[in-house]
Amino acid sequence: MMEPEALATMPHAISTQGLYLDGVTVAFDGFRALNNLSLIVEPGELRAVIGPNGAGKTTMMDCITGKTRPGSGIVKFGDRDLTRMDEASIANLGVGRKFQKPTVFDALTVFENLELALKAPRNPIACIRWVLRGEARARIEKTMQEIGLTARAHDLAGLLSHGQKQWLEIGMLLMQDPQLLLVDEPVAGMTDHETEQTAALLTGIAGERSVVVVEHDLEFVKALNSRVTVLHEGSVLSEGSITHVQNDPRVVEVYLGR
């Protein structure tokens, strides 16, 4: 389904921008979903984020992508202050996101979903005048191969299984050619084999781009072979290699030991 050389479809800009969160706090009706959260992701780094349900992992991504404005704190990508930008501008800056609940456009085909995500001028006139040329078509076809949906190219995305929608969303993320990928629970609903492939894909992407992956599946996190950040009640509980955090007694107590 997905070979490492397929990653050559993402050839461009080597990421030079890091992600920087400092003292980020988000409160919903007084409840602190993020509590003085600080996190640095180096350019090209692959980072896994784990933590119990409700730890604030998705909320953290909401802050980075402009969906939620933090009550206080700094969120920067390179030298750009993300707290002052809207979702579309942040996306155009090169921050792509895969949602926890896969959201693809059900009324469009797999191909059309990818075409919409493909990096290209986004204004209405450009979209009207858009003609699918060979190069773009080739990129979409290559991505469809990587995500194993070539045979479903002209099926409506609404007809896909949960796992296939996950793949399609990962494909859409690749089409955007982002510098920073935020991937929220990518392997939910996937088979073991698909999970391995996803891990290979993400490790292959990192280096050129920064990748932040949220996942509960510890086997998958191990396969990523990256630094791990453990979130708990809205702040960082522990950070380090997977063996380090697995042996951290606080992590065992709140997360692993249950």
Partner: protein, 352 residues
Amino acid sequence: MMTRRIVLLVAVLLLALLPVLNALPSSNPLHVSDFLVSIIGKWICYAILALALDLAWGYAGILSLGHGAFFALGGYAIGMHLMRLIGPRGVYGHPVLPDFMVFLGYRELPWFWLGFDWFPFAFLMALVVPGLLALVVGYLAFRSRITGVYLSIITQALTYALMLAFFRNDMGFGGNNGFTDFKELLGLPLNSGTTRAILFYAALVSLVVVFLLCSALTRTKYGRVLTAIRDAESRVRFLGYSVTQHKLFVFVLSAMIAGLAGALYVPLVGIINPGEFSPGNSIEAVVWVAFGGRGTLVGAVLGAFSVNALKTWLTSVAPDLWLIALGCLFVAVPLLLPKGLVGLVRRRKGKA
């Protein structure tokens, strides 16, 4: 696909035949009445309005309950032109001022009436004024992410407010009488059969052009962005599209098409008054589109024709029943025909 095109072509040709049959002597069995031609001319204009609404609602998910306002503004723009053309033939015989202004004691033409004696300007205004209004309202609403029922309420309030404003004499648009008693357009006397046929054809050609335009637009990537916005607006933002910009574009375009429909309508019916702004008109337009099948252009046109045919028939046999029937349609269509007539036909075909 092929058969669909042929059906559409035949439908257009049949409509185009009507003025010809109307010109036959009334003894001829194929003769059709003036009434039929004029009422179908009206429906053609409604069908253009339905296309406009479908573009915004069916494709982009913007349920406007105020499209009647854009239609009426287009109508008023052409109405102003028609009023200026009356010239000294008015009851008061004033060389420039329309009768209602003389009656209300105006000394000179208000500034916003200037230029309307020139057809190209008036026609342009029939598109630009609705477009500008949509731009302002749309910008404020979409920028603040007002969607769904809140947007519907705002647009409904907009048309209601405009109705109240246009009822006022001091607005300079003829108050509750509006404009009527038109004499000519582009040098053609409005009471002649030939002119009526020309106006009919103008409407029909416009319908075909607007249909083709919408059809081409919805097939572009832009059309697919609209569909995406309709189904998952926030997801589109995270792909880097400015939803505000895209919605605004389609809303303004839609308002301009509605204005065009109104501009074609007023010379055909010979009158425009603030009643055209009444909230009920906008709701009726939504019922046409829902009944025909929103999100399909054929559905919008079909809905405009069929619901208006029903209305014409009901108002002649049982005038009191129409509003009740409209209410029933409003409730029943989403429950029984969620995809409208077009959905019904497709389902039949799918089974066969």
